[in-house]
């Protein structure tokens, strides 16, 4: 199992429209190794994996499998080459048995008219003998998330794969469950399988992988043995992105006036012991890896989900919030990260979208909507946000992503909010609209509106915010501002605080 290379990729390019997702990317995978791929959100990891699995086609570049140049045109073809991909999201049929799920592809290709359940279960039991003790006749719905993840892996294994791609498989797992998974990974690797392991978590990479490749902004940065590199080095390689575009000027002198305070918020297992303050005029950021609990905290405060306990104080007044309606009444609003899913009403008029948060505002005493008042509100807020539209009575679906987001933002502003939580406010928004939105947020902050921005884009947080709280595993793991407001510091707090600790402990 020496240094035999099974997969070699070079000069890989891939663009989506004007966006360059990968440029001149290299990657090399040896037989029997566990190879981590690290990078920030949007660094190109998923694009690379999707190309290896044939889901996407590269614009140019070579993929060499066992010394032969190949074109992988579909996941089916990838399977023929022995490449298995376990996606982050579990894609099993919840209502049928484990065995049927595992052999779905085989059943699909089968010519026989009847299902041979006994044979399926026997074969599945054979697969699991190598993995763990899951009963193949159990219905998938009844399994825990971690066991479902194992079923996904088993499914990939039945395809006789030699290369297994695991995309953040531990995101939904507990520590012990992850450990089981790592043991299995090691066993598979020892049998000669090559595993590509995608993760943000430095601990996992350093405890379980042999080598690590770092991508940044769609470019290849480095590939190293984990033995010869430290977690901090990896983080340094991941960050150091040039902050693109112009960000509005930050707050000059920090105000002492506190407009919002959260005290001891708890909502296990989403988040725990969350306390923070928001000062007048500042833009506060919430950073953290996806799934760390950033959005959960905002939605918990807004009473949109969960049952958070703790105190909420707005402008010195302790609030008793039960529903999101109560929040809106007090001027606390939440801009959703999923614009199309729950941010806007795509098939409804722009004006009706903007007034949705408090329709009563554009109605008279009898509860009748004054359409000219509604149109006026839309026009005024639209002008303020530089919204580009054909007609205010046209549906939002006709607008570009950036303008849809401005509609969602106008909806927030329609109630004169005192505090806005913005979850990924510039996701899917073009560069121009993005910097406009940043400018608007800064202006709002300077007029005394509380602005809390959740973002997965570190340059955005650094460019826009005065202060950033970092969330890790449902807790606030630190706060950075001023000189310390760097990508490296945020990444350190978000992913490796205890990686360094644990490695040190082990070294001792």
């Amino acid at each position: 199992m020496a240094d035999e290379t099974v997969l070699q990729i070079s000069g890989l390019n891939k663009s989506f429209g004007p966006v360059r997702a990968l440029s001149d990317v290299r990657f090399e995978l040896r037989k029997g190794e566990i190879h981590a791929v690290a990078g920030e959100n949007g660094a190109g990891k998923s694009t690379l994996m999707n190309i290896i699995d044939g889901i996407l086609q590269p614009d140019s570049g070579d993929i060499i499998l066992d010394g032969r140049k190949v074109t992988i045109s579909s996941p089916t073809e990838a399977q023929r080459y022995g490449i298995g991909f376990v996606h982050q999201e579990i894609a099993l049929c919840p209502d049928v048995s484990v065995a049927e799920n595992i052999f779905m592809a085989r059943t699909n290709a089968s010519r026989s008219f009847f299902m041979d359940y006994r044979k399926l279960e026997q074969d599945a039991a054979e697969v699991f003998r190598q993995l763990s003790g899951i009963d193949p006749s159990v219905v998938v719905r009844d399994l825990s998330i971690s066991n479902q993840q194992l079923v996904e892996i088993a499914k990939a294994l039945t395809l006789n794969c030699r290369i297994l791609i695991l995309d953040e498989p531990t995101a939904a797992l507990t520590l012990t469950e992850s450990q089981v998974l790592f043991d299995i990974m090691r066993k598979l690797a020892d049998r000669g399988m090559s595993i590509i392991y995608i993760s943000h978590r430095m601990v996992e990479i350093f405890e379980n992988c042999d080598r690590v490749t770092v991508l940044r902004d769609g470019k290849y940065i480095t590939t190293r043995d984990v033995a010869e590199i430290s977690p901090s080095d990896v983080v340094n390689a991941m960050v150091g992105r040039v902050i693109d575009g112009l960000y509005p000027e930050k707050q000059t002198g920090p105000s002492e006036e506190i407009i919002f305070e959260a005290r001891d918020l708890n909502d296990e297992p989403r988040f725990s012991d969350v306390s923070f303050q928001l000062r007048k005029g500042e833009v506060l950021g919430l950073a953290g890896l996806i799934g760390a609990g950033r959005s959960e905290i905002a939605r918990g405060i807004c009473r949109l989900e969960g049952k958070a306990t703790g105190e909420i104080v707005l402008n010195g007044q302790k609030l008793d919030l039960k529903t999101y309606r109560d929040c809106v009444k007090h001027g606390i609003v939440y801009l959703s990260e999923d614009r199309k899913g729950d941010g806007v009403f795509l098939d409804m008029a722009i004006a009706a979208n903007i007034s949705a948060l408090r329709v009563e505002q554009v109605a008279n005493g009898l509860g009748l909507i004054r359409f000219n008042k509604e149109a006026h509100q839309a026009k005024t807020l639209g002008a303020k946000l530089n919204l580009k539209y054909g007609s205010l009575s046209g549906p939002v679906s006709l607008l570009s992503g950036g303008n849809q987001q401005k509609v969602a933002l106008a909806k927030m502003l329609s109630v004169d909010p005192s505090l806005i939580f913005l979850d990924e406010p510039t996701r899917g928004v073009d560069v121009g609209a993005k910097s406009e939105i940043h400018r608007i947020l800064r202006d709002l902050a300077s007029t005394g509106v509380g602005i809390v921005v959740i973002s997965s884009e570190l340059p955005e947080l650094i460019g826009l915010c005065d202060r950033v709280l970092v969330v890790r595993e449902g807790r606030i793991s630190g706060e950075v501002s001023g000189e310390m407001l760097t990508e490296r510091e945020i990444m350190r707090l978000a992913s490796i605080v205890d990686a360094d600790d644990r490695l040190r402990a082990r070294a001792r």
Partner: protein, 335 residues
Amino acid sequence: MSDTVHVEEALLVPNRRSDGILRGLFRMRETGLVLIILALFITMSFASPYFLTWANMRAMSVAFAVDGIIVIGMTILLISGGIDLSVGSVTALAMVIAGWLFLNAGVDPWLASLISIACCAGIGAVMGFFVTKVGLHHFIVSLAIMVIARGICLLGTGGRPIGLFTLPPEFKFIGQGSVGPIPVVILIFLAFVITFDFMLRHTVMFRKVFYTGSNEKAAAYSGIRTKKVIFLTTTLCSTLCGVAGIIYMSRFGSAQPTFGIGLELTVIAAAVIGGASLNGGSGSILGAILGVVLLSLVSSSLALLDVSVYWQDIIRGTILLAAVTIDHFLNKRRR
């Protein structure tokens, strides 16, 4: 680019609740339906000498007026994202309850009607409960209620119509009387149409119905109590069935336990032809009423032309399929 946007808006935004600007333009669906109805009307007045008689006009409009009241409830329910298959049997049940109270318990017919409508509202509330609190689907809940309500009708009457020969003339006036040349039924129907069409377009209350149906999660994220909205639209639909049942009872002078079998199909078809979407979020009362008028006009035209009744269902089904297909492609282009 901006030109295409305008063109698309003009073409592809039918029957959306308009905001006062360019109102006429956006009601493409209503305009189209009116044109089709007019064309059919003119053709028929040449094809049949009986068509353009006062008696025929009167019979035709009375035929769709009462169902039209149910269509209003169904349209609002569809806009909120729900559906109700029980409208036919709940309408029959309204007749049976009121008729039974009047005949066997000696209750004043007006009071009996009120109690009966309240019972229908109660049935709607029960469905609303199962949908919003228990979390079942409208389709299956209303299917169960459809069967249960019909069962109660048959159980209470032994399957035979209850003749109500002693109904006072004031009560019969609702279903059989006229004010001048216009049947009272038509006046009641128009009152309902105008009231609900206006409310649906202009009130905050009904705007929330549109928000809920358009995107329930986004509505919840706008602080709208979506479950309450769905509960209320479900209850409203059954209540309007109750009203329709009472009018039918007055018109027939009897309570018919087997009335309205298959009515849900006509009512849903009318609402959908009029622009309501089964996915919620769109629909208009005016459109739905035009849908009823169209279906009813087709039926009576075919009858006048001596076409077999069996053909009627085939043709009505075809019209529904055509309307929904056109809608599907319009929506696809808009997305």
